[in-house]
Symmetry: D2
Subunit: 299 residues, 4 copies
Amino acid sequence: MTQIAFIGLGNMGAPMAANLLKAGHQLAVFDLASEAVAKLAQAGARAASSAAEAAAGAEVVITMLPAGPHVKGVYLGAGRVLTAVASGTLLIDCSTIDAETARALHAAAAERGLDMLDAPVSGGVAGAEAATLTFIVGGEAAALERARPILEAMGKKIFHAGAAGAGQVAKMCNNMLLGILMTGTAEALNLGVANGLDPKVLSEIMKASSGNNWALQVYNPYPGVMEGTPASRGYQGGFGVDLLVKDLELALKAGLATRTSLPLGSLVRQLYVAYSKQGAGRMDFSSIIKYLDPELEKK
Amino acid sequence: MTQIAFIGLGNMGAPMAANLLKAGHQLAVFDLASEAVAKLAQAGARAASSAAEAAAGAEVVITMLPAGPHVKGVYLGAGRVLTAVASGTLLIDCSTIDAETARALHAAAAERGLDMLDAPVSGGVAGAEAATLTFIVGGEAAALERARPILEAMGKKIFHAGAAGAGQVAKMCNNMLLGILMTGTAEALNLGVANGLDPKVLSEIMKASSGNNWALQVYNPYPGVMEGTPASRGYQGGFGVDLLVKDLELALKAGLATRTSLPLGSLVRQLYVAYSKQGAGRMDFSSIIKYLDPELEKK
Amino acid sequence: MTQIAFIGLGNMGAPMAANLLKAGHQLAVFDLASEAVAKLAQAGARAASSAAEAAAGAEVVITMLPAGPHVKGVYLGAGRVLTAVASGTLLIDCSTIDAETARALHAAAAERGLDMLDAPVSGGVAGAEAATLTFIVGGEAAALERARPILEAMGKKIFHAGAAGAGQVAKMCNNMLLGILMTGTAEALNLGVANGLDPKVLSEIMKASSGNNWALQVYNPYPGVMEGTPASRGYQGGFGVDLLVKDLELALKAGLATRTSLPLGSLVRQLYVAYSKQGAGRMDFSSIIKYLDPELEKK
Amino acid sequence: MTQIAFIGLGNMGAPMAANLLKAGHQLAVFDLASEAVAKLAQAGARAASSAAEAAAGAEVVITMLPAGPHVKGVYLGAGRVLTAVASGTLLIDCSTIDAETARALHAAAAERGLDMLDAPVSGGVAGAEAATLTFIVGGEAAALERARPILEAMGKKIFHAGAAGAGQVAKMCNNMLLGILMTGTAEALNLGVANGLDPKVLSEIMKASSGNNWALQVYNPYPGVMEGTPASRGYQGGFGVDLLVKDLELALKAGLATRTSLPLGSLVRQLYVAYSKQGAGRMDFSSIIKYLDPELEKK
């Protein structure tokens, strides 16, 4: 049983916090949305009136926030978490943010003698609810060992990507590649269908060949090919276009900062941005196949 | 035991023909290169002095040639195979060619009452030698059943992609996707390394996540990450840049003919063409990672 | 006064033929659409019942047809023009087609001892009506001199691009570059406006600087910046998206055939194809700025 | 005659400062490189030992520095210029930097009641020496009128792009478009030559047609087509690849910050970055034509 402060109770944070309660931990929770706080309080958490109040007395602080500026604000800015916590507190930021901000927070924590981990997740809301998230962690190995039992209450797989910020870098690399795989798979399926192939047969062949990838395995973008996927329910639910755009932009910023050539990654971002502006921001990202072939649904 | 004519004894055709001999079939072989014919004759094949002579009396004709015009020439042109064969002969073209030519050959064969299959392979020279090729077959199901025992002497997996030409279409779709996966994986690894990650660790994370694909599984492009790959022996051997360019160009031609939008597929082709012109045509295709980051080898 | 056969009386061909009549030439005209023929007959042309009949007795044959197969059909196929014409007849194909077909037609004409020119035009329907077309001509210089007075009745500028097929090559190069200029100009304007600039001011600055190009000079894609452009009338009229797609595809086919790396040209084609499939095929091509920023019209 | 502090005496700044001296102004100059300071002192400037010392007593401060952090450092950081200047001093930053930093400096100046202009230039070292630079200016119109006589001593054209930061935005938009024009022109020329055209003839045709752009007018990238260009002297001199990469990256950062879709702009940046990493960073940017076709020089 650990005293945990959980800050950020959105679509992801709320079920993650609930899973920590179920695992028997004591939680103090905070969010700007008071209903979210109230809901967790009903489930047994202590409602805090500020991030700092939640963090005071905690052995572990977990943050799950939308973007870098929010995280910076909570730890260093108005949230004052970094000054509110006792020495020895372990800080775990599960938000997906840029690596630069992550490294700056690690450095600020280290100055105060605190262990910190950047631990962005994959698995989406479904994974957060089912406690099957994947954590991709940056920071000291010893800090990760301290965090492991806590993370295991919220997820299944835990990767140690490297030093401070490495969790963020690994996640953005993976998600950039994911955007490329999905778009490439969509192109291959569109090309096959336009030339007379059955998308199911083509999917099976590529999955058993050198075109094999995660999209063909569990997330086929072509409508009707695979049950249970967003493609088979009108691209509702799943991983939204705008969430992928956010990850692609983090990757491209890291690419600009390190002068890395990313021709496919940046083309995929352009496609998804233009697609989002057509009103598709909340559609599942596999619907890029429809952006490439707007006549798809008539087939 | 079947009487087989085998036409085209290059790097792929020669070991394929040798495997048919080993399986106990009787072969008549032809190639413009007489040494290639002589070598197979030593192994037990009958040396024919022309494609038509090889084909006369055969129950099955197999062709393995560089490109569409050669195949057309052998069946319809100077090779006169289509008029030389007995009725009832099964024609199997294992070359990788454009779908349009494949369909035209099917139609010409059908006019003469002959069954034909387009059956391009994947697996490369190593697969041809080890009889572990994959065949991706277009044509009638009944014709494929006739061909199956023959194909099984040369390969392991046999896919039925659909009607005439579908084997070619499926292969070009797969290989276009392969080019995208490889380039995308290279970008993700370059980005990670530029931002401080260990390429082995990042590869493991992405392989276990939604970035998972064939390149990460068996053909990692980063030097030193995976043993036994071209990346670990200076990008020698493997699947040459120019062979991929050929497949990408078949895919793009099919895309132009059907007005299919292929942004990643066509960008990948541009990159590989420019790379090839720098003298890299015979390097393994995973070396695209060096084209994206020419400083890679200094790392 | 010259005896001219004019074959192909569509949106472009009809006003071109009318201008030849106005210039005092004698015309025999043919088109599959009999109303188009009737209209020209009212204006003084002789209505022919076939391409061959129109061509018989002509000193000059002009064709203006949609694509390569139509042109081939008229000269070599069912149209039988090549066998119908008297020796000494000059053949001028004003259609925009692939260079390969153009060269094959030149060769077939040369075998019969006939001079031929490929003379695709730019300037659109407005240019055809006002007799201000630009002709980009491939073929022998002497043949071009014979054609010059005829072409001058339909256009203003005449370029000699080189030998057989060179007219087609030069036109596809120019129009591929046009697609790139327009899309690039759209990106620059979108970027400026998104960062607070007035599109008029930015257009003036770039036009006076190293960003200067034809789009900024006479065809600004941003609504409201330049009077009289399609952008200022809802992108109606002008040069249709599908016409540009056709030209881009001719260029890309020539690029595939010569293994030329065309990263921007092929990306532009992918964007226009996907845009066309959203139903924009008949919109002016400068509306690509809206495809890149679908929120543009709300601004 | 105006008292001017000039900070930053590199390849661009030194000749700009020299032109101000020639025009009769009194200069105090500073640079970290003392030889650069000494050289200007010989020409009549007062050598200052720090940026702040140069700025003290100046009516106008001009900065010409490599990138945003340097500019920030000079005005707000160690350089302390913003606190060193007298009230009423006009600040002109001629560096090319990101718009965000430019706006932050304007705001800091405004807090102290000082007028500031961002006034990046185009024209290169040759333009700096000949006093023919173009200034693209952001800031208040009244401040620009104060600056005009000073700027006219260093350049020929002065554009008012808009409010604070607008000069930087306009310059990055223009230079992104320039990169696209140059690469697109290179592709069109490569395609034409590969298909048998003379690059001079094709250049003339496109310049007189809708492909017309600045590169065809004054900076043709094909060797031997236009005298006096970098292409005609082995791509030495001119506008270096790495300088364009810097501008492209400023544009892409502004695009990421405003979620603007820039497919061509970002592809061009990827190409130039990979090209730079092959060792071409100091080659003229028109040599991208060789990156697209490495066999060009054998032609």
